[in-house]
Symmetry: C2
Subunit: 434 residues, 2 copies
């Protein structure tokens, strides 16, 4: 589906994809909307080097252990072999920390709340478009704080930004919670995640937010002079989401007809299809409708190709997941209406042409809500409380589930552990994962 | 100046810089405004892999000769040596062409008008922030056309987009013209450039647009089936501008007090400075002014720091080149005005508070125009027609000038060549260059 819908294509570079205009535009819309949320919460964008000297990567022991096996190494510059190899960044904690140690002197410099949009490279053995690719596009936030409390607050704030963004903008409900120690990020003190459920029942980790405490500040020597002139270590966080969100959109909302895009991130929110385009007045009305929708801020496409039939176009735009299809033929024009189909329910209605933009705006909002509702019902129907070992055993056997995260709301608490039978002190989500 | 104004910082990665929030924000504004111009001329964004297999780079002979000496090579993935080395892209013609040969089949697929925003890497021996760095951020447009005429039209259209953007958005006048055969891009049939003049009289190549003809289409086998079912080679273009534009802004407009930013790309177009901030009502009025300016769409900063004096702030914001400074103290408030200074002329005026946003908007427009006018006068005063060998010899001796480009307007034509004395058939700009 990802190639048929022109989201991406495979390239001759192992595990690396090309984002085609349609897929790239979804990522642009995610970028624009999420970036605004970052700015609204006081973050600033920066751009760091894409190459990181090996010596920097080696400074934090857990971090290098986690990432070294999947680093692509630059060993030659022009015709000269390099004295020290350079990692194509798999993530940028080590270069951010190097610069932070230079930029932070006093409590007055804090907090630093930075983010960058870029691509990173992880030399994965098995890759899958939008889920696990060698190169992927993402944002990575990196922040520095004076106190442990502020760092924890930031970590949770950004997890919440991700939760809101997934639910509101992508219509994807998520479970927010803390990862187990085994599943946390290499070098983190605590990792939080938002986990979405795909239609095959598997979990997809859609975003993570890490509290590093002073784990990086100590080896990278990031210290500040406090108000009372003491030298203190800084507390840091990082957080990221990637083009994997496009994978989440495909697998949360798609159906047997193809993609189903939430209106907020659809490159085209509506497509106008002329019916019997050669008949007098049809193209003119289509152009009028196009201009009206565009003027109302709707991302709209007029498909005026004359070498394919309307039926062919219906299929193509359904496949591509455009939320609203607007048909305009001689009969519609005679009646002063357009025939409108919504992609989420395939429901057809007629809308008076003189109120088209306003009505389609409402329709788009309704589709966005409805897509969330359907995904949320599916998620809840496929999430089960487990209280006995027998049940858990059965789930494991059936699904190979792994721990996803621990919800912040730990009720029901005081249950017994499904595994050992002793008093439980944690509630944990399990699922088979991507 | 580039470090003092927080545009960038040096990093431990040879020749690579970090863009700090202030510098990165200028690049974001350039990106946003230029990207809109690309979209308005029918271009779409894509994202291509950052690594390019050596075999692809080798396909076009002139191209590889031009770029191979400055490529950073990935030779190892994880713990395994690679069978084929991968170039960190120095530019992306070869990977675009590889994909184009897959994406183009029929005349119906044409034109493809793509662009990407990314960073590229060139292993330069000597680097200078914003002028020549190993890694730099840029956009690269890549287009495919059915005919030579369309490709030439596209090449010139994009050169014109750059000219308009430099002059209107950056207030930098440029000479647009064609590069000599010696100075054209590796693999291009024709290269056009916009050349700006810095305040030291040197030329800065601010943007280039290349017509490849079929130079890449032949080795990469990019062919289409024409309307009358003939297999034809495609005609291609590419064009780019980079973070070098920030270097152009610094050196076109800056003065002994620091940066002087054109309002259209200034991260803060106005900064509000409270005077005697502890006095009753001052901070309240400052916040009111801040909200009024923000609501009017002006990028505004309220500098409410209490640990530095107003005088210190004056210097800092002058250094950082903010176009308009708004002072608000008890006397101003008594008189119902703000004291406003424009950075381009240091002129001070008072503006009634109830009309502040409107007046500052006008002021910003005036500053934008005036900065262009000053730069244009400088440029014209330092551009000289040369008709005799003696004069040219003197210029060469003084400046080490090289050919920049040939203006489209070739009047005065029919002169004699300054070098050989024979009848000249070209007018050419010469300058010492960065």
């Amino acid at each position: 589906m990802v190639t048929q819908t022109d989201l991406m294509d495979y390239t001759p570079v192992r595990g690396c994809m090309a984002l085609k205009p349609y897929g790239n535009r979804i990522w642009e819309l995610i970028h624009e909307q999420l970036d605004q949320m970052f700015k609204d919460t006081g973050h600033e964008n920066v751009s760091m080097p894409m190459l990181i000297p090996e010596s920097l990567l080696l400074k934090e022991a857990d971090h290098v252990e986690g990432f070294a096996p999947e680093v692509a190494w630059v060993t030659q510059g022009g015709t000269e072999p390099l004295q020290e190899r350079l990692a194509v960044r798999p993530t940028s904690e080590t270069i951010f920390c190097t610069m932070f140690s230079k930029w932070v002197q006093s409590y007055r410099d804090l907090p630093l709340k930075y983010n960058q949009w870029c691509s990173v490279m992880r030399w994965e053995k098995t890759t899958r478009p939008f889920l696990r690719t060698a190169e992927f596009w993402w944002q990575e936030g990196h922040t520095v704080h004076a106190t442990a409390e502020e760092a924890e607050e930031e970590t949770q704030q950004m997890l919440n930004v991700y939760k809101t963004f997934c639910e509101k903008n992508l219509a994807i409900p998520v479970f927010a919670g803390q990862k187990s120690d085994k599943e946390k990020f290499a070098g983190a003190r605590a990792t939080y995640s938002v986990e979405a459920m795909m239609q095959d029942g598997k979990a997809l980790q859609a975003g993570t937010s890490h509290n590093f405490g002073t784990n990086f500040a100590v080896p990278f020597n990031i210290q500040y002079l406090s108000k009372d002139s003491k030298l203190e270590y800084c507390h840091e966080t990082s957080w990221g989401v990637s083009t994997r969100l496009i994978g989440a959109i495909i697998m949360t909302h798609g159906d047997e007809r193809g993609l189903k895009l939430p209106p907020m991130i659809a490159p085209f929110q509506a497509v106008i299809l002329p019916i019997a385009a050669h008949k007098g007045g049809v193209m003119e009305k289509c152009e009028e409708a196009f201009n009206a929708l565009k003027a109302a801020g709707i991302r709209v496409k007029l498909d005026d190709r004359d070498n394919v039939s309307p039926g062919w176009k219906f299929n193509e735009w359904e496949l591509k997941g455009v939320p609203v299809r607007v048909e305009l033929g001689p009969k519609d024009i005679e009646n002063g209406v357009a025939t409108v189909m919504r992609r989420d329910t395939f429901e057809k209605t007629t809308i008076p042409l003189d109120n088209l933009a306003e009505e389609i705006k409402k329709l788009l909002e309704d589709i966005q809500q409805n897509m969330y509702k359907i995904a949320d019902e599916f998620r809840l129907a496929h999430t089960k409380d487990v209280h006995t070992y027998d049940e858990e055993d059965k789930i494991k056997e059936e699904t190979n589930a792994t721990s996803r995260n621990m919800p912040f709301d730990q009720t029901p608490f005081g249950d017994t552990c499904v595994c050992c039978g002793r008093k439980a002190d944690k509630v944990m989500y399990f699922a088979k994962a991507y």
